[in-house]
Amino acid sequence: MKLLQERTAKLRVGESLIIQTAVRIMVPFIQLFGLYVIVHGHYSPGGGFQGGVVLGASFVLLALAFDQKFSMKYMSEKANGVLGNVGALIYTGTAALCAIFGGLFLDYSALDKLIPLGPVGWRSFGIFIVEVGVGLAVMSIMAALFWVLGSNGDMEEGL
């Protein structure tokens, strides 16, 4: 009880212990669900865009319930930028790799020469690689947009 009172006394205006505890419990499951949506895109509704938005929303939720500093402890600005670039690069890089290995641009079956999985297997696996790239890019852009717009550009104190 005393611990609770101390913690409540430290909270600033607009912060609530109930919301913060709930968010702390929910965020890992939200991120797991985002990964599930990306990875399970082959078999159910979902895919890179939707899963990426769910992943990005988890960071937005952290920034809303706590403050921006707290959400940026989990994903620093630099790591976020790198992930976004890597995501876009995975997609275009896979496409270019297909062309380099003698197929058409974005024809994943050409990657069979790199690792023999069979042309059909590569078309399936290529879609998966590409979805992961889309998910990374969308997640990073969602988080970055919220951070920049919510903190007036200095990434210090958010909403």
Binding site: G47, Y91, A95, L106, V130, G133, D154, M155
Partner: protein
């Protein structure tokens, strides 16, 4: 001027609505969109890509260009917003902290 704008809007809207009268009926199996590529996707997609979800197969494989540039558009939009709005901490604030 406002009346002219309203008139232009109404005429354009009327022309567009008139154009929709030539559309095939909603869900018509004989419409041009349904007899050419859709049939091919439905029959061959699972067999050609081993992806049971047709939407993912079309999105990631047959229309890979579309999805690629969608990603690039989102990426560019985010990059533009961040590079325009991001500002470094000013020096007075740095001295304080």
């Amino acid at each position: 001027m406002k009346a002219l704008a309203l008139l232009t809007t109404l005429i354009t809207g009327a022309i567009l609505l008139y154009g929709t009268m030539d559309f095939p009926a909603f869900g018509d199996p004989q419409s041009p969109a349904a007899i050419h590529l859709s049939a091919y996707f439905i029959e061959e997609a699972v067999h050609e890509t081993h992806v049971p979800n047709l939407v993912t197969a079309v999105l990631g494989d047959y229309r890979g260009y579309d999805t690629m540039f969608e990603t690039v558009v989102i990426y560019c939009a985010g990059l533009a917003v961040v590079s325009v709005l991001r500002k470094k901490r000013s020096k007075t604030q740095e001295n304080k902290s």
